[in-house]
């Protein structure tokens, strides 16, 4: 498909980005520029630029930022750079003035990673945290100065074509930068509402008493969402100290610290990334289900006391909702990192 830059704003020379942005704010209109963070969105080529611009225009409603959208085509035969600028504005209260965030789009063709990194660095808003949303497989080389400045790396592990390799690269990034770079995996956020619902169900003290007796899980996932299901299983394993003993394409086996065995069945079903989850023991069974499109998770707890039905929010799984949730300040990823350690074993 031919590249259509029509929603990228005003095309400018690279060295005129900041003066053009300044000029945007000199207009007499009642507009306020707001900026709390830098969001750099990295994607390959030009294909995703328009869709990412749409995402950014929605994202800035909740997170005022300087967004830099970078289309990178390192293999292009001719070296070339192009740039566009635009403002995304919205009115936040009736009668109040418009709040705007800036987007710079950079297209880098045939350039070395260090040159691309410099282009981005030159356009960051100073002194604000840098969030790098890396779309697709992670890079082999993270030596450029841009990576030195990253505060938060946003990924979506569901996009990974080679999960084992990407997990290794992520682990290399973690050992290179330590806890300086927080990792936010949108695929992990996809499981958030399910994890919350399960966790809140175990607030019931009688159920909590039986948590060590869990002997099976069943996760129904969409065909393309197996990695989401594996992340969910990894979370149980990490939080309940289960050790993987056997990994098959449609089942996982764990041993609990009390010696008990746990079997986790993975079932492909069309629909949401995860359409249902059940957690079972001899004493109870907890099942959570989401009908496609519903905003609720239906939960049924069966135990000797009889069945109890309840509902939990299912959350939204569109990228903007996931990203907005991930960008909530203070989200700590200790639990995610623990789950990743378990995931490593499950990808065998």
């Amino acid at each position: 498909m031919a590249f259509d830059p029509s929603n990228l704003g005003l095309q400018v020379e690279l060295n005129q980005i900041s003066s053009t942005l300044h000029a945007l704010w000199e207009t007499p209109e009642q507009r306020t520029r707001a900026c709390l963070l830098n969001l750099v969105v990295y994607c390959q080529g030009t294909q995703q630029l328009a869709a990412n611009t749409e995402l950014i225009s929605k994202f800035v409603r909740n997170h005022a930022c300087r967004a830099i959208l970078l289309g990178d085509s390192p293999a292009a035969p001719v070296q070339k750079t192009s740039a566009w600028v635009q403002a995304h504005c919205h009115i936040n209260k009736a009668g109040a003035h418009e709040i705007c965030s800036e987007q710079i789009t950079l297209l880098a063709e045939g350039l070395a990673p260090a040159t691309v990194a410099n282009m981005v660095m030159a356009n960051l808003d100073y002194d604000l945290p840098l969030n790098l949303w890396w779309q697709g497989d992670l890079p082999k080389n993270t030596d450029s100065p841009l990576w030195q400045r990253v505060d938060r790396l946003i990924i979506d592990s569901l996009d990974w074509k080679n999960p084992r390799q990407d997990l290794q690269r992520l682990s290399a990034i973690r050992s290179q930068f330590g806890s300086r770079i927080a990792t936010a995996d949108l695929n992990w956020t996809r499981t958030l509402n399910l994890r919350q619902a399960v966790a809140l169900s175990f607030d019931n003290l009688a159920l909590l008493a039986e948590i060590g007796t869990i002997n099976s899980l069943e996760i129904c996932h969409a065909p393309e969402s197996k990695l989401t299901a594996l992340l969910l299983a990894s979370w149980f394993a990490a939080q309940l100290s289960w050790v993987p003993t056997q990994v098959n394409p449609t089942s996982l086996h764990f041993r609990a610290s009390n010696g008990g065995n746990i079997k986790c069945k993975l079932l492909e079903t069309a629909g949401d990334a995860i359409s249902s989850l059940s957690v079972n023991s001899d004493a109870f069974s907890l099942s959570l289900q989401r009908e496609t499109g519903s905003c609720l998770l239906h939960s049924t707890l069966k135990s000797a006391e009889g069945p109890v039905q309840s509902h939990f929010p299912a959350g939204n799984s569109d990228l903007i909702s996931l990203l907005t949730e991930e960008m909530m300040p203070g989200t700590r990823h200790r639990v995610y990192l623990k789950a990743l350690n378990s995931l490593d074993h499950l990808l065998a």
């Binding site: 306020t32 707001a34 709390l36 800035v60 409603r61 909740n62 997170h63 005022a64 919205h90 936040n92 209260k93 109040a96 003035h97 709040i99 965030s101 958030l192 994890r195 919350q196 399960v198 966790a199 809140l200 175990f202 607030d203 019931n204 003290l205 009688a206 159920l207 909590l208 008493a209 039986e210 948590i211 060590g212 939080q239 309940l240 004493a283 109870f284 905003c295 609720l296 998770l297 939960s299 135990s303 000797a304 006391e305 109890v308 039905q309 309840s310 509902h311 939990f312 929010p313 299912a314 959350g315 939204n316 909530m328 203070g330 989200t331 700590r332 990823h333 200790r334 639990v335 995610y336």
Partner: protein, 514 residues
């Protein structure tokens, strides 16, 4: 299942969210046809739903006297939402939300009404898995508390099942003085334990009020200066252009001191003056606030006369419109001795605040609406710039609670040019523009916290008690003293009486103009 050897910590909850995560519950609002429900409570619950924070199966039951069907109640609330909800009204969300709003008609004193309420709640529990979790909101005057609480207890509605909770939120005014607050607390405590009692102070739910602790304890720049060595004085102002409107009888029995100072402004003062808590748990924070209230200097009647000014508004004009004097307002006594304005000089007698005056003023029929805290730093030494140009003002850090929540810092700066001219400039931070989205309403945060069982932003019994002790010595000097200080007056639409200006002038200071 048996819970004998239960683990006490739920390992699955680790790191899940830094937002409160309430369990599904039912919310019962007593006084549901009242102004507060329409203007604040239901819009707050609705906006929680919009933001995905309201548990999906929460039912809201409005309890009030006049006959009304569910449909009429929903239609009225829907109309009010259009006016009072910060996010307006989205039809899809409203349809889902309003389907879970119910009207329950009964007199507060009628046992049958509670019996049917209990049945309704049990039915909702069974249908929706709300597991017996109940939040009772007493949006009624304090004279109704005892009757309602008694009936709740009589029908076992304060009792919980295993693992569930029942909580009560009580509205201000919480008592009339220390002794009535004590009685009220006793009555509540017979029905709900202290940890299930949430005394609401909506000022604490405001973003800027919550930001005071963040500003102080998450920034290394302020805390070293936050003491008597660097701070000259602090001014706390709560001004509103409104008069008493339709609330004459309530205001007559209350007055500005009780209505605003015992709760809101004392809470704000505590957040400004408190020591860093050891952690962010509700009790650690409230322990530190309590120490501040207890350290507030209690005045003798003579000291009240020289440290506190009370006044009433006379005729005047607000926003270009003539308005009557307080004593001519609807259902206000023509010889009323109720203050509509109060200004006082307070001292927090502890190490940090030794000798630093806290000037507090609150008034109705002021020229504009605004609540703010201004922290005046001490002047720079009288050499260099301060010697050359008389009256270089001090640095002032202003925390605006409402409207236009934000923070500004006044600093001195050189005016561009060959001449050395110094002028104050303001560094301004506005919540709404900086974060690109409006702050949630105070009631949203407070309702969510109460559902999630976090009492940090609610007043604890001992705090209320200590605040009344401070207020009572002023009220007693006014009302139980053979020679009470005079009641000053100010024209409506002015910034208060001359006596209040004199209070600061005596210390060589002036009130900030908002």
């Amino acid at each position: 299942m048996n819970a004998t050897s239960s683990p006490t910590i739920n390992p699955l909850k680790e790191g899940l969210s830094n937002r409160p995560l309430p369990r599904p519950c039912n919310v019962v609002i007593f006084g549901a046809s009242g102004d507060l429900t329409y203007r604040k409570l239901v819009p707050a619950l609705y906006n929680l739903q919009v933001d995905g924070d309201l548990p999906a199966t929460t039912n809201i039951i409005g309890f009030a006297r006049r006959p009304k069907s569910d449909d009429v109640f929903r239609a009225e609330l829907g109309e009010a939402l259009g006016k009072f909800s910060r996010s307006g009204r989205a039809d899809e969300v409203w349809t889902d939300f309003s389907g879970r709003v119910h009207y329950h008609q009964s007199e507060f004193s009628n046992g049958e009404g509670y019996k049917s309420l209990a049945e309704k709640l049990d039915r909702f529990d069974a249908e929706n898995g709300t597991a017996g979790n109940r939040l009772f909101y007493l949006s009624v005057g304090p004279n109704e508390f005892e009757g309602i609480l008694g009936k709740l207890a009589e029908h076992g509605l304060n009792k919980t099942k295993d693992g569930s909770w029942a909580r009560v939120i009580v509205e201000k005014p919480f008592g009339h003085d220390r002794s009535s607050a004590h009685d009220l607390n006793e009555k509540v405590s017979h029905v709900f334990a202290e940890e299930d009692t949430y005394r609401i102070d909506h000022y604490l739910g405001k973003e800027t009020a919550q930001n005071i602790m963040v500003l102080r304890f998450a920034n290394s720049i302020f805390e070293p200066l936050w003491n008597h060595r660097y701070i000259d004085h602090i001014q706390i102002t709560a001004a509103e252009p409104m008069g008493v409107e339709a609330r004459g009888p309530y205001y007559e029995s209350s007055g500005a001191l009780r209505d605003m100072c015992q709760n809101h402004l004392t809470q704000i003062l505590c957040l400004i003056a408190m020591e860093p808590p050891t952690d962010l748990s509700a009790d650690s924070v409230r322990d530190e606030k309590l120490k501040v209230v207890r350290a507030l200097r209690k005045y003798t009647p003579e000291e009240v006369a020289s440290n506190v000014v009370r006044a009433q508004y006379g005729v005047g004009a607000v926003s270009g419109k003539e308005v009557p004097a307080y004593r001519s307002e609807d259902r206000v006594s023509p010889t009323s001795e109720t203050e509509t304005y109060v200004a006082f000089r307070a001292f927090v007698d502890n190490w940090r605040w030794d000798g630093v005056p806290f000037y507090v003023r609150v008034g109705k029929r002021m020229p504009k609406h605004g609540t703010e805290i201004a922290i005046y730093l001490k002047d720079t030494p009288g050499v260099l710039f301060n010697a050359q140009q008389a009256g270089l003002g001090p640095n002032v850090l202003v925390i605006r609670i409402q409207p236009d929540e934000g923070i500004s810092l006044r600093i001195q700066s050189k005016r561009p040019g060959a001449q050395l001219a110094i002028e104050p400039v303001k560094m301004d931070f506005h919540y709404n523009t900086s974060f690109g989205k409006p702050s949630p309403e105070a009631y949203e945060r407070l309702l969510l916290d109460a559902m999630a069982g976090d009492a940090t932003l609610f007043a604890r019994r001992d705090e209320v008690d200590a605040a009344w002790t401070f207020i009572d010595c002023i009220e007693d000097a006014w009302h139980k003293n053979p020679n009470p200080p005079v009641m000053a007056s100010y024209p409506a639409g002015s910034w208060g009486p001359k006596e209040a200006d004199d209070l600061l002038a005596a210390d060589g200071r002036t009130w900030r103009r908002l």
